[in-house]
Amino acid sequence: MSDRHYMRVRADMPPGHVRTPAYLRGKTGWVERTLGPFPNPEQLAYGHKGQPLPLLRVRFSMAEVWGPDTDRPDDTIDAEIYSHWLEPSEAPHAP
């Protein structure tokens, strides 16, 4: 677990076509794998050339996303998040 690379999803709510689910914004997870680069869908959606960006599969614990009282805190959610939505982070407090 110590070699986990933690990232936090930006907590912003910009307008437009965004493929970062709102329920994960502000949450911290670790990188499961890195994919891409893929063109930025926020630009593609408006007919612009999409800037190629790394796409990271980030794994979140249920405890991090839904709080420590969630039924099964150690189950996980993986989601694909474009790199411009992520910032390096410390591990979240243990649930």
Binding site: P21, L55, T76, D78, E80, I81
Partner: protein, 214 residues
């Protein structure tokens, strides 16, 4: 029969059900208008559109079942599939187009389930059209929050020790679950095994059929 309001009743004596047709929605009208314009301007033809719909309808979960059954019987293919599912399925002859695929293998202590909370992303080339429930708000909202309960409603009860991994298909990747090979199928051919692989077992909302179901 002593029914008084004959005009509300069918000859069976039961009330008529109201018709369930309704006026076209804004987007249904828009689709028809754009389609007719594209045909009128010669950009496409009605035949091309019909052929594309036929091609879409021709894709069925048997494509995915063939991939799973091969992964169960061919260790080198399984390894290639887990390393790069796009390349491995393309090599099997499935046209994946611009799609990129990740295969998720269930193990004795891990169960994978796929959802697209933002819309309805689905590996159509391997599984065909998604079932209606896959696109429903309830499935999309609840699977990321209480997958254990959602699975139980699908009839899948897992040991408490099994970790559930939910995969939210948010961007460029599509996902197929490789369920665990059913017990008692040693020595079976890939073709026979494929008959045990259900659509839901490749979404993660089901398990393959048992050996005695074949």
């Amino acid at each position: 029969m002593p029914h008084d309001h004959h005009d509300h009743l069918s000859p069976s004596g039961h009330p008529y059900r109201p018709d369930d047709d309704h006026p076209l929605t804004y987007w249904q009208q828009m689709e028809i208008a754009v389609r007719e314009l594209l045909i009128e301007k010669g950009e496409t033809t009605a035949q091309e559109i019909a052929a594309q719909i036929d091609a879409m309808d021709a894709r069925t979960p048997s494509n995915g079942a063939a991939v799973v059954a091969r992964a169960w019987t061919d260790p080198a293919f399984r390894e290639a599939l887990l390393a790069d599912a796009s390349a491995a399925t393309r090599e099997m002859g499935f046209d994946i187009g611009p799609m990129r695929l990740i295969a998720l293998e269930n193990t004795p202590d891990t169960h994978n389930i796929v959802v697209c909370t933002l819309c309805s992303c689905y590996p159509r080339n391997l599984l065909g059209l998604p079932p209606d429930w896959y696109k429903s708000r309830a499935y999309r909202a609840r699977t990321v929050k209480e997958p254990h309960k959602v699975l139980a409603e699908f009839g899948v009860t897992l040991p408490d020790t099994t970790t559930i991994r939910v995969h939210d298909s948010t961007a460029d990747m599509r996902y197929v679950v490789i369920p665990a090979r059913p017990a008692g199928t040693e020595g079976w051919s890939a073709d026979t095994l494929a008959a045990l692989v259900t659509r839901d077992s490749m979404i993660g909302t089901g398990l393959p059929k048992a050996a005695d179901a074949a």
